[in-house]
Every structure is written in C-alpha cells, then in structure tokens.
C-alpha cells in the first residue's frame, strides 16, 4: 500500500485530495455519492459572520472547458456552520477546513476567533481572492499591504493552521504570497478563479447577473499550474488547484510543488472525481514504486523550497 497521507501546513489529511470551497456545499449535497471519510478533506463554502445573500441570477455560465460563476459568497453565516454543519461533518468523519470571508478585516478576524475554539475545524482557508464581491474577497488579495494586514489580524485570533487562498488576477502572485507568509500564514492555497465574462448576443447584455465572474475548470489549469510553480519558491506548503480534472492533472500540481490538491468544477462534471483522483494517485505511486506521495512534491521544480 502506497502512503497517501500528507501533512498540509499542519493539517493532517488521509489523502491529498480536497473538495474546493464553494463546489461541495457543506458536504451534505454529494454525500450520497462521495463518502466524506474517503476524501482528504472538505473546504466549506466561504463563510461570513452573518448570512450573505449572494448575487442576482444568472450566477453561472458555461464556457469552453470552463465555467464562470458569480455566486457572490452566498452563505448561511457562521452560526449555521457551527451549530448545524460542523457537527454533521464530524459525524461523517470529514476533515474540515473552513473558508473564511468578510467585508472588513474585523469581520474576517471575528470569524477566525469564533472558530478558534472549534476542535471540529482542522484549519482555515482565508479567502482573499473571491472576484465576485464588491467588498472583501479579491479586493484584499490583489494588494500586498492589505493582504499582510488581513493575514496578520486573523493570525492573531487563531491557532488553527492558516492557509491563504490567492488570486491569480495579479501581476505578481509571489509578492502577495510573501506578504501572507510574513504575516504568519502556514500555507498557501492557489488559485482562486480568473476574472472573466460572457455576453448574451441576443439580449446584448452580460450573461451573468454580476457582469463578470470567476472562471474555473480545465481552461484555467495552465495558469493555476504556473502559479503553483512560481509559488513553490516562497517556502510555504501549497494547496494547489484550478482546473484539475483527472489524476494526471493532480500529479502535475504535485510535481510543480503542491502538497495537496483542491478539486472544484470537476466534481460538478463527475461527482466521484475526487475519489477517482485519489485512486489514480495511489495506483500511480504503486506503478512507479514511490512509497510516499510527499516524495512527488516539487519533484519537477528545481526552484521549489521545502514547505
């Protein structure tokens, strides 16, 4: 048996395949076809202090090998997470990372603080990269200074392993990542969606209610992989993702320097994609005679620094 277990920035995972935030609800939706104790972990939908209503419809649109979404971080709020979802997820044996969002530094910090007392949370993923909200989200993550300030504020309130989820919509992602590192992040999550749009030529208006949205799916894999490749030099462990669809894609991210991978859009296409990818990785290790999956991390990337 090959060993698929990894330690991602202090989060122990039975395998390196996680459900990406916002694509797996709070685990219940797909539970009938994806046993939660068979995947590495689940990253919850972006969770804010109070419930958020999200953006007007239409919220998704298909594009070539990808999809746009502008959900706008609709979520039932922290209280619901703590009282309803976390207990249920614990009962399923799921490893839970909470994706945290806010409009202000204080809101982010408040969520982190409440979750700090929660043993059912394995780690936090700070979403500084959602392109679909006016305040918060990407507005923080495209600027080195505000990234630093936000990560620092959250770091002070939590002892949980802290991942910072980065936006690819920047000139220099490494610079943002370094700020996150210097402010105390334990790991990086790369990447969130790319800003894109579609226009309905019959109605002559944007397809999405929010005008622009975030592109995910196979179309963005080359950009996401290049981001992980560059981030490997920052020296923090990386949760890589963006367009991963089959196990071979996952291996590319590991070789580039990711310790684990997040799977989003592929789940919509093939609900069991995460299970298939974990199985594919295991078979690959066996075939190649590699004992531990962690031996692959950064193996193609001379610039990778041990995370």
């Amino acid at each position: 048996m090959a060993d698929l277990a990894v330690n991602l920035a202090g989060i122990r995972l039975r395998n390196p395949v996680l459900a990406a935030s916002g694509t797996f609800g709070y685990g219940r939706e797909y539970a009938a076809v994806v046993p939660l104790d068979r995947i590495g972990g689940i990253i919850t939908k972006g969770t804010s202090l109070e419930p958020w209503p999200g953006n007007p419809p239409p919220r998704t649109a298909e594009t070539a090998a990808g999809m746009l979404n502008a959900i706008g971080l609709e979520n039932p709020g922290l209280k619901h997470l703590v009282e309803v979802d976390l207990p249920w997820l614990a009962g399923q044996g799921a490893t839970v990372v909470v994706n945290v969002v806010g409009r202000t530094v204080d809101e982010y910090a408040a969520v982190a603080e409440v979750l700090d007392g929660q043993p059912r949370v394995a780690g936090l993923e700070l979403n500084v990269s959602c392109p679909n909200v006016d305040k918060g989200g990407m507005a923080f993550g495209v600027n080195p200074e505000s990234t630093y300030a936000l990560v620092r504020a959250v770091r002070r309130r939590t002892r949980h392993p802290l991942l910072v989820k980065l936006s690819p919509n920047v000139t220099d992602i490494v610079r943002i990542a370094e700020q996150a590192r210097d402010a105390g992040a334990d790991g990086l999550s790369a990447v969130n969606t790319l800003v894109g749009m579609a226009i309905d030529i019959e109605r002559r208006r944007p397809v999405l209610g929010n005008v622009t949205g975030g592109l995910s799916g196979p179309a963005i894999k080359p950009m996401a992989l290049a981001a992980v490749w560059r981030l490997a030099r920052v020296g923090l462990p990386i949760l890589g993702g963006g367009g991963i669809s089959v196990w071979r894609d996952a291996v590319e991210f590991l070789l580039a320097g990711a310790t684990a991978v997040a799977i989003g859009t592929a789940t919509f296409v093939r609900p069991r994609a995460m299970l298939e990818i974990a199985e594919g990785l295991e078979e690959y290790l066996l075939c190649q005679g590699i004992e531990r999956i962690s031996d692959l991390v950064g193996a193609a990337n001379p610039g990778a620094r041990a995370g």
């Binding site: 609800g25 009938a32 007007p56 070539a64 090998a65 979404n69 859009t265 919509f268 296409v269």
Partner: protein
C-alpha cells in the same frame, strides 16, 4: 440520488429537433417521481464540460428504464442526439423536488413545447392512482406536439394548441386555460413566457410550475441556480425546485 452508468436503449427522432431517449438505469428509475430530473453527462469529453438536466418523462420500474424527451438546442443536446443504443452514459438522479399532487382537485396539466416531458410522467402517475387528468399541450406547429404517443399508451388524450393553428386551438396554450380553472389544480411546465402567463391566470387556484434554470452541480452544492421568490427570497431550482408553487416563485429574472 444515484450515479448510474446507464445504457442507451433508444434515441430516436420524434419530430424536427425533438428526440426521445430511453436509458436503462434501474436504480434511478425506481426512485424517480414526476417533476424530478436527471443530470446527464452527454459525452465523455471536455466539451461541453457540464452536465445537462432533463426531466424524467417516463419510467418503467420493471424494465428499469427512464424516458427523456428533449429538444436539440445547442452543443450538449446535439451530442446527446449522437448517442446510439448500447452507448453508456453517466446519469445522476433522480434530482430535485417534483410535483405535489393535491388531493380533491382535478389535475389540469399545461405543457409548452418540450416542457410537456415531466407532465407525461405526472399524467401517468395520476392515471395509475385512478385520477382523472386533463392535459393541454402547446407547440409552434402540429408536427412539434410531442409526447402524444406516450400519453396514449396509458389513455390520456391531450388538448392541443398551436401557434399557427395547424392543430387544435390557434394561439398560445394558455388561451385554453382560462375557462378551465374551476375545481382544478394546475401543473405547468414550459417556456418562461408560458409559465408567467399561467402564474397570472391561476392566481385563484393552486398551481405548481416546473421551471428551468442554468445548472452546474444539480444537487445544491454550487448555489448557481438561485432564483427569486416573490417575497424577495432566494431558492435553488435544483433542490428547492424545479417544481415551485406558482405564488412562491418570481419569474422575471
């Protein structure tokens, strides 16, 4: 909810651009209810990427089959039209919340175009439980009145309306609704304009609408298929619907 590797048993042309597909998917067939849908991976390729939702038009528990009636409108349905008997297709379902048949009211089913699909299933279930059923079916022209063949199998005749008057009433199917509401409960499925009209006409009687929405996951995980309610709230078409009470849902989005 199951994920089944279904076998295509039939995929034939019913009318211009309209096809009928029979899938062997016993688990889903057994558990499906009228108004529910399946989410299909039309092809094993990256294009089109996402699944496509289709109402269950019939099911046969003994044979373990599902019937879909679909219109070819774009890339996904074109690919679906290519599938041949014997091909395998990945089917997720049954999904969503279907029609709630109200006791004590004669069901009046109103279908527009290919929207008739879920009403066939509903009509069959109604007959099976010994109810009387009225079904009004609209289409652009006589050739596009699909589903009658199926309906006849269990003895339901539909009352047709065509835009060009080539069969039955000339005009929108909703033109047939007004005089027929008394003591009825309305179950409608069709294009948004038709559903809006039904919503207006049926203010005084119970009515349920099967609506469409753009879907990514189909299971409530992505929050993409959000629609508005009349009181300003939000519902998910895929899990709160696709069948909603007419007074609940807003159709202007």
């Amino acid at each position: 909810m199951r994920l089944e590797g279904a076998r295509v048993e039939e995929n034939r042309l019913l009318a211009p651009e309209h096809r009928r597909m029979v899938l062997h998917a016993p688990d889903i067939a057994t558990s499906a209810a009228p108004g529910q849908f399946v989410h299909l991976r039309v092809h094993d390729s990256l294009h089109p990427l996402l699944r496509r939702p289709f109402s269950v038009a019939r099911r046969d528990v003994t044979a373990g089959t599902l019937t879909l009636i679909y219109r070819v409108v774009g890339e996904g349905t074109a690919r679906l039209a290519d599938r041949r008997p014997g091909d395998r297709m990945d089917v997720l379902g049954p999904l969503g919340r279907g029609f709630r048949m109200l006791p004590g009211k004669i069901p009046l089913l109103v279908g527009g175009g290919v929207g008739i699909a879920p009403l066939i299933f509903l009509a069959e279930e109604a007959r099976r439980t010994g109810r009387q059923v009225e079904l009004l079916a609209g289409a652009r022209t006589a050739a596009l009145l699909v589903g009658e063949e199926d309906l006849r199998e269990f003895g339901v005749e539909c009352c047709p309306a065509t835009d060009d008057g080539s069969r039955g009433y000339r005009g929108p199917v909703t033109g047939l609704v007004a005089g027929r509401l008394d003591g009825r409960a309305v179950y409608a499925s069709g294009p948004p304009a038709m559903l809006r009209q039904v919503q207006l006409l049926a203010e005084s009687v119970p009515a349920q609408l099967c609506i469409e929405g753009v879907m990514a996951c189909g299971v409530g995980a992505c929050l993409g298929c959000s629609c508005r309610t009349r009181d300003g709230g939000r519902r998910l078409v895929c899990t709160d619907g696709p069948v909603f009470d007419a007074h609940e849902v807003s159709l202007d989005g």
